[in-house]
């Protein structure tokens, strides 16, 4: 199929409403392959709903979401979208509590997702090496045998990022990765995201302006379900309307 757009992710006129309330209102923007984008906006601006639409959790009433120039995500479900190579990290860290850290990564590891394959699956040497690698990146090697439920909040956030890495997605959607983290952890997370961004496209939703500033990337500010401003962090924070609705005077 011919590519419709050169952007990796392209939202076109997406509208979602809940009982008359428009969570997304004719939202359009594009994210280029290899880019890292920060999405900011006040509560209720539609940031999480936007992620829900991209990952197939919510179906929009109007509009298209084109991935990789040829897949219309509005017609696919969560599983199909994940298999196309879109990974998502939730606002509240969600890992599999009763599994070990190792099993969590193993489950996320790129592989044949079919039930029949899972029944007969055996870990290969390459997969073992890949898991070790990820453990190092997310700094959880020492606790690999522990149940994920017993990890600290920050460790869970990192484990979830590790799981995203293991999925080897083309596009990562990261919802508030530093919520509840210490300053040091926040800094490390920013480094980690930048490292990931070297070979993957990343979309970060974040409230923490210092963290967004650290990322040094293009920023999109949402308000009432549509784009209010787009540009560098300095441009956006200088925007009259952004200041009015979000940053405050």
């Amino acid at each position: 199929m011919k590519a419709l757009t050169s952007a990796l992710l392209y939202l076109d006129g997406v509208t979602v409403s809940f009982d008359g309330f428009k969570a997304l209102n004719n939202l359009s923007f594009a994210i280029a392959a290899g880019e890292m984008r920060a999405i900011i906006g006040p509560n209720g601006a539609g940031k999480t709903t936007m992620m829900d639409v991209v990952t197939g959790k919510t179906r929009p009433e109007l509009g298209d979401v084109i991935f990789d120039g040829r897949h219309n995500l509005t017609r696919l479900d969560e599983t199909e979208i994940a298999e196309l190579g879109i990974g998502r990290k939730f606002q509240k860290p969600t890992v599999f509590d009763s599994h070990t850290v190792l099993d969590n990564i193993e489950l996320a590891l790129k592989s044949d997702r079919r039930a029949s394959a899972a029944l007969w699956w055996r870990e290969s040497v390459g997969e073992r090496r890949r898991i070790d690698e990820i453990m190092e990146i997310i700094r959880l090697t020492a606790v690999r045998g522990r149940r994920a439920g017993s990890l600290s909040h920050g460790q869970k956030q990192w484990l979830e990022i590790g799981m995203l890495l293991a999925q080897e997605p083309k596009l990562l959607l990261v919802d508030e990765p530093v919520a509840g983290m210490t300053d040091a952890e926040t800094q490390q997370t920013a480094e980690l995201l930048k490292e990931i961004n070297r070979d993957r496209t990343v979309v970060v939703v974040e409230h923490d302006m210092a963290f967004v500033r650290d990322l040094h990337v293009k920023v999109t500010c949402l308000h009432e379900g549509s784009v209010l401003a787009e540009g560098t962090i300095d441009q956006v924070s200088a925007n009259e309307r952004v200041v009015e609705v979000y940053l405050g005077r």
Partner: protein, 536 residues
Amino acid sequence: MCFRRAWLVALLFALGFALSGTSAEAASLDEALAHFTADDFSETVEGINEVAAGGSPRAEIILRALQNDQLMFSAERKAVYIMDDAGKLTDAASGRPVVGAAPADLDNVRINNRLRGAIEAVLGGLTLLASDPGARFAAAQAVFKSRAAGTLPTLETAIAKEQDPRVKRALMEARAAVILSVADAKDEDKLAAVDIIRQRGDQDALGLLSSLPAGTSPRVMKAASAAIAAVNNRLIVWSVVQNAWYGISLGSVLLLAAIGLAITFGVMGVINMAHGEMVMLGAYVTFVVQEAIRTKNPELFDYSLAIAIPLSFLVAGGIGMLIERCLIRFLYGRPLETLLATWGLSLILQQAVRTLFGPNNREVGNPSWMSGAFDLGGITVTYNRLWIICFALAVFAALLALLRFTRFGLEMRAVTQNRAMAASMGIRTSRVDALTFGLGSGIAGMAGVALSQIDNVSPNLGQGYIVDSFMVVVFGGVGNLWGTLVGSFVLGIANKFLEPYAGAVLGKIAILVLIILFIQKRPRGLFALKGRAVEA
């Protein structure tokens, strides 16, 4: 053509009756009796018909006496007497004993077989003139079925003087039925009769029209077959109406059973498998109330439900609150555990009731205002079903009002929408939880009062409704009271429309399958909530 003549005479008599009023009754009876003194069969026939048509309360006694050869006359005195088995004479017209010696020329009024037939027919029709409209109606129905030709004159009289439109209608139909079964009636009369029967339009009418006697003229036959077609159409329409009525009735029962569940499951998200037992408890409260009334104050029986409804609300609601405080609040957020624990609770409640009241059905009576039925067009409406529909709708309306207009309703909606926020606003969430659960249980208890009127009151009463109620709530959309209303009536009506084709059991299975398929299309029910709330 003795028929025609009798008819004319009867008509004249009826006219005379209508003009002269009650005083004419005695006079007409004397005149009629005079015929018996002529000692002539045709005069006697005249006498029989006139006595019958006169509508005197003595008519039956006189005619029975004639039938039993106990009617005597004296040509000399021009008087008619009745002689009982003991040989005592009474005056036929007045019923007073005869004083003094019996007349010398006393003799039987002779009858032959033709006269016996006439007496039979006339006696059958006599109750057509009874003073009680109910008796007249029943007699008309009986004649409609028997189609005895001899009743025709009496029918004419009765029709002429009938005031009650319902009885008049029945009498007209009876006359039409008789005319249609008499071979020598005129075609015009028969056509008019066919028309009347067509208007009756039920199964009996069909039976009558399709069994006209041989020798009926083609013209009448044609009219009859047209009438049959019309009646058939009418019957189809009425059977649809009937099914709809049964469906609405079932729907109201489902609504009653499900409405409490819509609160506990739909609004609070607590799955209470003991909900059916709350209904059962309500029914037993009714039983206890009625027992107490029977032994203490039987005249209050008609008010038993008025006492039972608030009482059952309090009992079931109180137990509900107890359950919430002692059990369910420890299980919030664990629906599957709640399901199991409340199932255990339902076992305990059932067994407790079984131990207290015994395992058999207990007798719960209908108050007088809830028993009986009336006809509405082609269907029969029973009062208890009608009242239950009204009650269900009233409870529904009251609940909506409670949620919308009261402080408690506001707090309840606040707690279910955002518990933490409500708590921080100073709402005592745990109290609201207990009250909400108590409300749902109390409504279930009231449903039990209504169900006790139409169902067997046994420890298993609740079990029969639990799956159905859940289906209603799931079908209607969880957390939406209007969905529950629409859901229960849709399921009730669908059930009753499927039943004639599939039978009760297969109908039920079909409904279950349909709901499962329906959930495919709309996993969150008819009236789904949207947005973030559903993820909670």
